[in-house]
């Protein structure tokens, strides 16, 4: 069909440069035939009448100037089909499970197109994850992108799995389809996910893309795009509600930096490319709900903060794009609390549209605000106690201090398989709030106190 060029002039890291080609399109998919008979794939990064630069996904190992380069004339496309559910694919979309190739219903550009903001439906369907710190204080809604900000050695994988198992929209029988994309995680971690998917039967309604730690870093740049393309297809063409788990965004960003360095670009903060915000946005923004279509894409990515530093460029830029974040805390983890989610730096920006009467319960917002305020104050008081001792605190402050402990012990702490309904979560909230003097509940309307406060309810 197309010509094979043998005009490679330079190979540098993951990049290959060629001369004297016919006009080649920007972003085109490239096939490279090695002298040993294998074929590698790549993408055009820069194209001019004289020189073409190609980034090679599977790494440039074994490539030499004898290799033949074929330009396919089209951008990278993913064959999509409803039969992808239950399949395990490589980071570039090839079957890994020994099954047959996917017979495509369609072939879709993996870069996707940006959704017209005018076509978006503001997300507002409450998702019950069964985890109190999320449902109660950082509510997730359908179509939201809410990453987990974690650190190495913390149980973010367990939390993600628990959410994937338990997530449901109360009152709806539809289950979420899961699209799982591993980017540069170890095979051990990947196995942990796979076993859990198999054990719980979740694999049947999941599509798995695996790019492991020893797979080429460049491939990581394409893996999440494949996963999101599959998710969009299932959501918007097959009316499914899709939960996308991308792990680990940090590895993705490292690959991005690696590519930037190979291309000798001017680096931005900490060596990451200046366009990292735009690049991350092109992933995160592929979540949402479209007016007039039934399906939705909800993103739940995992991001390990280097050095637990939330101001590091990766969590920082992510936080500016995503609709909040769930922050996993080392301190709570050391205390033996699972899930060790610190609600104070956590946030769900879409919470307000997903809660309240008719969605969760009328007192939800007030209860959440009150717990936040009291817990924040309680934690500050802990610092004070370390200096002046508990006795020096006023009566009021002592009660707030105790509230902080109760909050961690009864609200935050729960079992790995404990699936709390939103009713359960709010009831737990009231039972700990009732330990505070009523005069301190300034953020809760009197009508809710009368309706839900255990002291009033029993009357």
């Amino acid at each position: 069909m197309t010509k094979e060029y043998k005009t490679i002039t330079e190979i540098s890291g993951p990049l290959v440069f060629l001369e004297k080609t016919e006009p080649v399109g920007y972003g085109e998919l490239v096939l490279i035939n090695l002298p040993d008979g294998t074929t590698k794939r790549g993408q055009v990064l820069d194209t001019s009448a004289d020189l073409v630069a190609v980034q090679v996904f599977e790494g440039t190992g074994g490539l030499n100037e004898e290799s033949g380069v074929v330009f396919t004339g089209e951008t990278i496309k993913l064959p999509v089909s409803k039969d992808m559910l239950g399949r395990i694919l490589s980071g570039s979309g090839e079957p890994l499970d020994g099954g047959p190739r996917i017979i495509p219903e369609d072939r879709v550009d993996v870069n996707g197109a940006s959704m017209n903001p005018y076509s978006r439906m503001p997300p507002e369907d409450f998702i019950q994850t069964g985890i109190s710190t999320i449902d109660g204080t950082n509510t997730l809604v359908r179509g939201q992108k809410l990453p987990i900000f974690s650190g190495s050695g913390l149980p973010h994988n367990e939390i993600a799995l628990q959410i994937a198992r338990q997530a449901k929209v109360p009152g709806s029988t539809e289950e979420f389809a899961v699209v799982f994309a591993a980017m540069g995680i170890t095979s051990e971690e990947a196995q942990y996910f796979m076993e859990d998917f198999e054990k719980t039967g979740a694999l049947e309604r999941a599509v798995v893309f695996l790019n492991l730690a020893d797979d080429p870093a460049v491939e990581r740049l394409i893996t999440p795009r494949m996963a999101l393309t599959a998710a969009e297809y299932l959501a918007y063409e097959h009316d499914m509600h899709v939960l996308v788990i991308l792990t680990d965004i940090t590895n993705y960003c490292e690959a991005l930096r690696q590519m930037g360095a190979a291309r000798e670009e001017v680096p931005g903060r900490r060596g990451y490319p200046g366009y990292m915000y735009t690049d991350l946005a092109s992933l995160y923004e592929r979540a949402g709900v479209i007016k007039g279509r039934k399906g939705s894409v909800t993103q739940f990515s995992i991001l390990t903060m280097p050095g637990d530093d939330i101001t590091h460029p990766i969590p920082d830029l992510s936080g500016y794009i995503t609709e909040g974040q769930i922050v996993v805390s080392r301190e709570l983890h050391r205390k033996g609390i699972y899930p060790p989610i610190n609600v104070l730096p956590s946030l769900s920006r879409l919470m307000n549209s997903g809660i309240g009467a008719g969605k969760t319960r009328d007192d939800h917002k007030a209860v959440s605000d009150q717990m936040y305020a009291a817990y924040a104050e309680g934690r500050d008081l802990r610092g004070l106690v370390a200096i002046v001792g508990k006795e020096a605190l006023s009566e009021r402050d002592q009660r707030i201090l105790e509230f902080a402990d109760l909050f961690e012990d009864r609200f935050v702490r729960q079992g790995r398989d404990e699936d709390r309904t939103i009713e359960d979560t709010l009831n737990v909230s009231w039972s700990i709030l009732s330990e505070l003097p009523e005069a301190l509940l300034t953020r809760v309307d009197n009508k809710y106190i009368e309706k839900y406060h255990p002291a009033h309810k029993s009357k």
């Binding site: 972003g27 194209t47 009448a49 005018y118 500016y320 305020a373 924040a376 020096a392």
Partner: protein, 576 residues
């Protein structure tokens, strides 16, 4: 003039074969993607393209329009929702569905819609740029003034009356120049004004901490920097909803799609507190989300301010919110880096500071060419990486703007909203606006405000001591200071944007609320001097009841009840 593409690298395309001018708009490739010339080098020129360039090849044709990037100005701007280069999103949806494809052009103004034009000028009138020729009722409350384009003047030889489309001639000058209701203006060039004036009226926003402590003047500039999650967008949206300007231009620059969807959904349903009409009728929205092309993001800010200037020229007060200017700066950085320009601080181009000041300088309170008074207030959100205010965009912005509303993640975590830090924020307009406040709010407003600021300052110092020794160790008069400042923080400064009543607080209510808190302060201090125990003063019930007064529909009577009770309670204390 036809040329061809030489090189494609992301949004930056090099062309050859034509001789464009700087900032000419060109159409590149078979699909005619829109772009703008940003560098000329020998026989080649560099173009930033506003759409995705995947699949575009060297050798494809390039056409120069010979025009610089312009917006269409005329009736029909209000209620519109545009992308960064003034393509109506609604039209894009009709043309290409729910996802934005490329190569689609759409006019900024609807060519089919007919407007009723009422002439004010007559045959034989001599007119110059900016003069009003006639009126069009654009929305229920906004009269759109059809003006002579700034560069045109002459004597009217014919003026029409009746229903016209925007591009039909409504007026002919003796020189033969035909004028329609629509004008085009290059976005990167400020529209001319008669004279810039000193801002002397406040922008009333209904947000207590903004109006009360750190007011911005109409025609002024303000920046809201803050780390993510500290409430920038909510504050910007509150300003867009409640500011007492005639026109609002809201630019969603590189922000979240779902957030824009929320604005698009909410604004048509919200009511303007002044007129009771839907807010959308006075609003122009520009939505360029973070995953839309980066070059169009760079342009969106200019598109917005040019539209704002056009309404200012009619003598209106306009407010412009840009959320977020950091994304705009990043778009500049990205394009600059693709051009392989020498970077300045943190990879931003060396011209960052110049571009920012040029933009903010387009704000102002002015006498228009026609002699009317109009204003543009610019409020820019800044998203500093890691919440670190020492980064280049925040620093360069602070050198220009007069009002600084510093958002604080700590406050947001305690659910103190709006989480604007009262110690680090400032407004340089407080002096200039003092006369206005004395005249229009209350003669004692300025001292009341200064006293509140003073208390908050004292509290901050006392808190340091409390951190060491606990609050009980403080002398009693200082404990009163702590209590009053807590009331100022919780009752006055905290405001719930999602509460139907509290979301907008008129100035009169702000005054009465602060006055009530100050009254408690006076009575408490007096009671303390009279030897009444601290514990009794603090346990006055009406003090705690004051907390919820701001949420009451009937604020005045709720406040009266509480204040009467307070008088009574203190009288009883004194009587003991």
């Amino acid at each position: 003039m036809k040329g061809e593409i030489y090189r494609v690298a992301g949004p930056v395309v090099t062309i050859r074969g034509i001789k464009p001018k700087m900032y000419d708009v060109v159409h590149v490739g078979h699909e005619g993607l829109m772009g703008e010339v940003i560098r000329i080098q020998g026989d080649k020129a560099t173009v930033q393209v506003y759409e995705d360039t995947s699949g575009i090849r060297p050798g494809e044709p390039v056409v120069n329009t010979g025009m610089s990037l312009s917006v269409e100005l005329g009736p029909g701007l209000l209620e519109s929702i545009y992308d960064g280069i003034q393509r109506p999103l609604m039209v894009l949806q009709e043309k290409m569905g729910d996802f934005i494809q490329r190569g689609v052009t759409a006019n900024g103004l609807d060519r089919e819609r007919v407007w009723e034009f009422k002439p004010l000028a007559k045959n034989g009138d001599s007119v110059k740029g900016g003069d009003v020729l006639g009126l069009v009722q654009e929305t229920e409350n906004i009269e759109h003034k059809i003006m002579v384009p700034p560069t045109v003047s002459g004597t009217i030889s014919e003026i029409k009356s009746g229903s016209f489309k925007v591009d039909e001639t409504i007026c002919v000058l003796s020189s033969g120049t035909e004028i329609s209701m629509m004008q085009k203006w290059p976005v990167r060039k400020p529209r001319p004004v008669g004279k810039k004036l000193m801002p002397n009226r406040p922008l009333i926003t209904g947000q207590r901490i903004l109006d009360g402590l750190f007011p911005v003047a109409k025609g002024g500039t303000a920046a809201i920097p803050g780390p993510f999650g500290s409430g920038k967008t909510v504050t910007q949206q509150q300003l867009a909803k409640w500011s007492d300007t005639d026109i609002v231009v809201y630019i969603g620059c590189g922000e979240r799609g779902n957030e824009m969807a929320d604005v698009l959904n909410e604004f048509p349903e919200l009511q303007d507190p002044k007129t009771g009409r839907p807010l959308m009728e006075r609003t122009v929205l520009i939505a360029n989300t973070s995953n839309m092309p980066v070059a169009a993001r760079e342009a969106s800010v200019y598109t917005g301010i040019t539209i704002a200037e056009y309404y200012r020229d009619m003598g209106y007060d306009v407010s412009l919110m840009a959320d977020s200017t950091s994304r705009w700066a990043e778009a500049m950085r990205e394009i600059s880096s693709r051009l392989e320009e020498m970077p300045g601080e943190e990879g931003y181009p060396a011209y960052l500071s110049a571009r920012l000041s040029e933009f903010y300088e387009r704000a102002g309170y002015v006498r228009t060419l026609e002699g009317q008074e109009g204003s543009i207030t610019v409020i820019g959100a800044v998203s500093p990486p890691g919440g670190d205010f020492s980064e280049p965009v925040t620093q360069n912005t602070l050198r220009i703007v007069k009002v600084f509303w510093a958002l604080d993640a700590k406050l947001a975590q305690r659910r103190h909203f709006p989480s604007i830090n009262w110690l680090t924020s400032y407004s340089l307009y407080t002096q200039g606006l003092a006369d206005w406040f004395t005249e229009n709010v209350a003669p004692d407003w300025v001292p009341l405000r200064d006293h509140a600021m003073d208390l908050l300052q004292q509290e901050a110092e006392l808190q340091e001591i409390v951190q060491l020794v606990g609050s009980d160790a403080l002398p009693e008069d200082q404990q009163i200071v702590l209590e009053i400042s807590r009331m100022i923080r919780e009752y006055f400064l905290q405001q719930n944007a999602f509460h139907p009543v509290d979301t907008y607080c008129p100035f009169d209510k702000q005054y009465k609320l602060l006055k009530a808190i100050s009254k408690y302060g006076e009575m408490a201090t007096a009671a303390l001097e009279a030897g009444i125990p601290m514990k009794d003063i603090l346990s006055v019930e009406s003090k705690d009841e004051l907390a919820k007064v701001k949420f009451e529909e009937d604020f005045q009577s709720a406040l009266d009840v509480v204040m009467t009770k307070m008088d009574k309670e203190f009288a009883q204390l004194g009587g003991k």
